[in-house]
């Protein structure tokens, strides 16, 4: 008899947990997600950094302090196994005035306590050698070489694909409505798609983890959203080589200036606390974006004109009561494990969180986990035409002509890339076809023109492959359809 595990939430935490738990013979793992695709919650919009682990005070936030550096080390291995796009370019925490060095010293000391290797304070001369484009006001910095960047949603997708390949079952567009508890033990979860039996329920529900916990009768914490806004610039705008931070403040690590993995200059986030009922508020604001612009200018004075902005977006951090990650088996409900309040550095910590959960299952629930004889740690990244040298591309096209047909002209994404993306969407159980699902897998629509040329073509491909009319294709799930019917629908008064 296998032990049934239900993981609630297919973000970076839930997906990492699913992958790690898929190693065990005696577990049957179910990954439950209310969105049409994985990684669309907190994991979708953030700074995409693999942090160094110097920032979290081990006295105040022991979980964060322990798991961040562990996660960083694990990501170095995971990105290779799962072929996740990444760059290890290091971070500079920049001092603009003498007193900043006191804070940098504190961070250095904290980093050493947390076990962060290779950190040091650099002087002005070395700083400009590491980052020539930095503001001339800079007088020194803390240099953290182990910092890197990944694509957060591609990472979630890679983890879930690997988990599914290793036997994990996904339940997308499945919203948890209740947790069934009998005699102090979890029995399963009630959802809009029926009851899912479970001996262990892992609450990795991001912004909604407090609501899920309350369904199991646990309410000692609350999650409130903290909004951060960002600008992305066109890829011909020069950006820094390193991840640039200002010297931090108590509330936030500050507004970062970086070149994200696709080569776009990115600035953000600010930090704005919202009330708990604002968990769906991913709107950008004029004020927030202004704050980001002004903050970024302090480190990177040569910001381009606004016409070079290709996207602005907002993310929400799930801020828990107390500020530390809440990762534990709850004693009053046997089998209920909270993985809540996974705010920054959650993306970095995710692999370590997953191993922590496996340990909790063994140590606190007393379940001996039996490793599978055959577990596949590898997952191949989707074909990206734009990454192939011409000779290689030509070979691909000879085998399959769709790889020779470019759909997204800004990023050179081929029809073959997109068809592969659709195949993989189906593989992990994506039921509602949406342009965003293709976007996050292929980078189509994320270039200079933001999809105005290729979105209609992607809609056609999705419509064909999913066998639905093109106007029923969505941007990001039900309620975000691309159209209202065929072009004569209103005149015929039979609007779809």
């Amino acid at each position: 008899m296998k032990i049934k595990v239900a993981i609630i939430g297919a973000g970076i935490s839930g997906a990492s947990i699913a992958r790690v738990l898929s190693k065990y013979e005696n577990l049957e793992v179910h990954l439950i997600e209310k969105a049409p695709d994985v990684g669309w919650g907190v994991s979708k919009a953030n700074t995409a950094l693999i942090h160094g682990g110097y920032d979290d005070d081990p006295d105040k936030y022991p979980m964060r302090a322990k798991l961040c550096i562990r996660g960083n080390r694990l990501w170095h291995q995971w990105v290779k196994e799962l072929q996740i796009a990444h760059v290890w370019n290091g971070a500079l925490i920049v001092a603009l005035q003498e007193e900043d060095f006191d804070e940098l010293e504190r961070l250095l000391e904290r980093g050493r306590r947390n076990g962060v290797p290779e950190m040091r304070i650099v002087d002005r001369e070395e700083l400009f050698h590491l980052e020539p484009g930095l503001t001339r006001e800079a007088i020194g910095a803390l240099w953290v070489p182990i910092v890197g960047q990944i694509g957060p949603i591609p990472a979630v997708i890679a983890l879930v694909e690997n988990a599914v390949a290793n036997g994990v079952k996904t339940h997308l567009e499945t919203e948890v409505r209740g947790i069934k508890v009998e005699g102090g033990e979890v029995k399963g979860v009630e959802t809009n798609n029926g009851f899912i039996e479970a001996d262990i329920v892992i609450n990795a529900a991001g912004l909604h983890a407090d609501e899920i916990a309350r369904m199991a009768g646990i309410d000692y914490f609350e999650i409130h959203p903290r909004k951060g806004e960002y600008f992305l610039f066109d890829d011909d705008v020069p950006g820094p080589r390193r991840v640039l931070f200002p010297t931090p403040t108590p509330i936030s690590k500050g507004i970062v200036v970086t070149t994200e993995i696709s080569g776009h200059l990115m600035i953000g986030p600010n930090a704005q606390d919202l009330p708990p009922e604002k968990k769906e508020d991913f709107a950008t604001t004029k004020e927030g974006l202004e704050e980001v612009w002004e903050g970024a200018k302090k480190l990177w004075p040569q910001l381009p004109p606004r016409s070079k902005v290709i996207r602005t977006f907002a993310g929400l951090r799930p801020e828990p009561t107390g500020g530390d990650f809440i990762i534990k088996a709850e004693e009053e409900v046997w089998g209920f494990i909270n993985v809540a309040g996974i705010r920054s550095p959650g993306l970095t910590s995710a692999p370590a969180i997953a191993y922590e959960v496996a340990e909790i299952i063994q140590r606190d629930l007393g379940i001996k986990l039996v490793e599978k004889e055959k577990w596949n740690p590898y997952r191949r990244e989707i074909t990206h035409f734009f990454m192939l040298p011409p000779e290689k591309a030509n070979e691909m096209v000879k085998k399959n002509p769709s790889y020779g047909k470019i759909v997204c002209r800004c990023n050179n994404v081929s029809e073959g890339d997109i068809l592969e993306a659709i195949e993989r969407m189906k593989f992990i159980g994506v039921k509602t076809p949406s342009v965003d699902s293709v976007k996050f897998r292929t980078k189509a629509t994320t270039g200079t023109c933001q999809g105005s040329f290729c979105r209609p073509r992607i809609v056609q491909l999705l419509a064909r492959e999913y066998g639905v009319e093109p106007w029923k294709i969505t941007l990001k799930g039900k309620g975000s359809e691309i159209g209202i019917g065929d072009v004569k629908a209103l005149l015929r008064r039979d609007e779809a």
């Binding site: 769709s402 200079t448 065929d486």
Partner: protein
């Protein structure tokens, strides 16, 4: 030298990049002049944006009759076929390499494979892209229902999809006005056209659309925010003052499920920038001489990649001109001139192309003013040229013919200015 030994190699005198009106006219003309030509276009069909422009008003100058977009494209395509011009559709150029003046390589991909084409010259006619919502600073929810005008047009007139039923349009240029009419014709309610400037941005004949279909025009206004869940539900509009600053307290919300952005076009010239072509910040397109040759010898440009045009007729004309330049370039091993006269922008001139004139041939100057004016004179003081114009507006491109002997009168430069008569 062969850059890619494993990739099939093709050879032509000239490669034309882009199969819209500029590229088709260029390819046809180059073939007529006896050059071997390959035309490449990324779409499945020739014509560029024309096949989705199903309204009429095209071709009055070029074909001397009024046509729809698809008809205009079909005529050029027929000419290509009759001349036996080789063309490939679904062919996307990945890179242009410039080895020397008469050695260019164009690498393209297509469903039949990746190819390298060696050519003596390249005519770049890849059109433009539209400015999008993020570029013009619209904030708010990330929802479905926001389209550029071209995207909405593609959905409707290529794929037969109706984007929405209550529409707000940003921008009263030709494209925005034409889309307003297009939506109205399909039974959608166009709630408003929002224009940043104190005057409408389109040709007079298109501004009439607002009257014809009873569509409100908000001048000196801008859309600043979009709200909705899943799909656009309402948009926030504010008034702007003469310095384009938002007027506090002037906000109004308009209920709509669709926001169409028609906030101008930008020449699509990234591939030219990569090979060092100099760009004019005023046009967004390359700096060119009177043969429409860029600052990289043997790389020519025409159509909306050169400068955003109002009329397809001028676009096709530029294609022909670039082809004639290419012929001269190949025959003489370069475009030669005893002197180059620089065209300078004077009072109230926002942009003018070409940038350099030889004085050895007649040219058309294409220019736009910065602000609307009435009763003006277009002057070129260095050569004593004067032309009275009743009205000038930024929306209406001025095309001015200069004869070679007129141009020769100038020495190093000539200045184009538009001043009160």
């Amino acid at each position: 030298m062969e850059p890619f030994p494993e990739i099939p190699m093709l050879g032509y005198d000239v490669v034309v990049i882009g199969g819209g009106p500029a590229g088709m006219a260029a390819a046809a003309r180059a073939k007529e002049l006896g050059l071997s030509v390959l035309l490449l276009d990324e779409n499945d069909y020739l014509g560029g944006i024309l096949p989705q422009c199903i309204h009429s008003g095209f071709g009055i100058h070029y074909f001397k009759e009024e046509l729809t977009g698809p008809e205009f494209a079909a005529r050029l395509a027929k000419r290509l076929v009759e001349l036996g011009v080789e063309y490939r559709t679904a062919a996307r150029v990945l890179e242009i390499r410039n080895y020397s003046d008469l050695e260019k390589v164009v690498i393209f991909t297509s469903p039949s494979g990746v190819y390298q084409v060696w050519a003596k010259a390249v005519i770049y006619a890849a059109g433009a892209r539209e400015r999008h919502a993020f570029e013009i600073g619209i904030v708010g929810d990330r929802v479905s229902g926001i389209y550029t005008a071209g995207e909405a047009q593609t959905l409707m007139d290529i794929y037969g999809v109706l984007p929405g039923k209550e529409v707000v349009i940003v921008g009263s240029g030709d494209v925005g006005l034409i889309m307003a009419r297009r939506f109205a014709l399909e039974g959608a309610k166009v709630k408003a056209v929002i224009e940043l400037m104190p005057y409408p941005g389109g040709l007079a004949r298109n501004v009439m659309i607002l009257k014809d279909f009873n569509i409100p025009l908000y001048l000196s206004h801008k859309v600043v925010e979009v709200r909705g869940k899943g799909r656009v539900q309402r948009v926030k509009v504010v008034k702007v003052d003469e310095n384009i600053n938002e007027v506090p307290g002037s906000e109004l919300w308009i209920e709509a499920d669709t926001l169409v952005i028609s906030a101008g076009l930008v020449p699509a010239v990234k591939k030219l920038k990569k090979i060092g072509v100099e760009i004019d910040p005023a046009t967004g397109g390359p700096v060119v001489n009177d043969r429409l040759e860029t600052t990289v010898p043997g790389i020519f440009v025409a159509g909306n990649s050169l400068v955003i045009n109002d009329l397809v007729d001028y676009v096709a004309e530029q294609g022909e001109l670039a082809a004639e330049g290419t012929k001269e370039f190949i025959d003489n091993g370069g475009i030669e001139s005893r002197k180059w006269i620089k065209v300078e922008k004077g009072s109230n001139v926002r942009l003018v192309v070409p940038h350099y004139l030889s004085g050895e041939r007649d040219v058309y100057l294409y220019l736009r003013v910065a602000r609307p004016m009435e009763d003006v004179e277009l002057r070129i003081p260095e050569i004593g040229k004067r032309l009275k114009l009743p009205v000038v507006k930024p929306a209406e491109m001025i095309r001015l013919k200069l004869k070679a002997e007129e141009i020769q009168k100038a020495n190093k430069k000539l200045t184009v200015e538009v001043v009160k008569a």
